[in-house]
């Protein structure tokens, strides 16, 4: 089972990304994510957290999160479900804890809204996904580890996590 990723958001904006449906116990929302292999944690966009009516300080405190040169207190929220679309047009649901960050001023709140939902390497590790990417060809996808059958079909210039 593979989850395709887009390799760009426009010219010279080569991010691994795609659309996702996020669900919390209080509702669901359309959203997008960026897969960031430089982030060890999965972080929910501030506006997505608001749309899902997630209380910002109900979970356990995490490490201090640095985003865009500023630091924020993070809180864990356990009950988020990510729904992705597989390449064979099936819904793939993954429940995964995320970090929500708490702004301390309206200005910080506005700044945090600019940062997308980030899927980090914790998601790949705990949910057992392998990332394949060939940025030059514009091919990228996540594949469940136990379902990977043939390593030799992997293009030469790929990233594996």
């Amino acid at each position: 089972m593979r989850i395709p990723l887009l390799t760009s958001l426009g010219e010279d904006k080569d991010y691994l990304n795609n659309a996702v449906i996020l669900k919390s116990p209080r509702g669901l929302t359309k959203s997008t994510f960026i897969l960031d292999t430089g982030s060890p944690k999965t972080i929910l966009n501030h506006f997505d957290a608001r749309r899902l009516q997630i209380p910002f300080n109900s979970g356990a405190k995490t490490e201090i999160i640095r985003l865009g040169g500023k630091t924020y207190q993070g809180y864990t929220f356990e009950r988020i479900t990510f729904s992705f679309r597989s390449e064979d047009n099936q819904l793939v649901r993954e429940e995964f804890p995320v970090i929500v960050v708490r702004p301390t001023s309206p200005k910080e709140e506005e700044e945090l809204s600019n940062f997308p939902t980030i899927i980090g390497t914790d998601f790949l590790k705990k949910k057992r996904y392998i990332l394949f990417c060939d940025m030059e060809k514009g091919i990228a996808y996540l594949e469940k580890k136990e379902e990977q059958k043939d390593h030799q079909t992997t293009p030469n210039s790929t990233c594996k996590y």
Binding site: L6, S8, L9, G10, E11, D12, K13, N17, N18, A19, V20, I21, G27, L28, T29, K30, S31, T32, I34, D36, G38, S39, F47, R51, L67, G68, S83, F84, R85, N89, Q90, L91, E110, S113, N114, F115, P116, I118
Partner: protein, 78 residues
Amino acid sequence: MDELQLLTGSIADLNWFKENSASIGEKYEGEFIAIDNKKILESAPKIDILIRKLEKKGININLVLIKYVNPQGEIIIL
């Protein structure tokens, strides 16, 4: 509408955003935009203003794709 339909619509909208990023960037740089069915429904420089505009139109903010359009020459390094 079920989740798969919602997601399929979002993916199409995100692809549309990507394909039209140059023209969207020229018109909406530095703004938040709400996209549905390959159309920009509303835009605003601040997310709260965008929410108010959408709610005033009776649009469910959870069922539209919200994107921030980076100012020209600016990229986000996470």
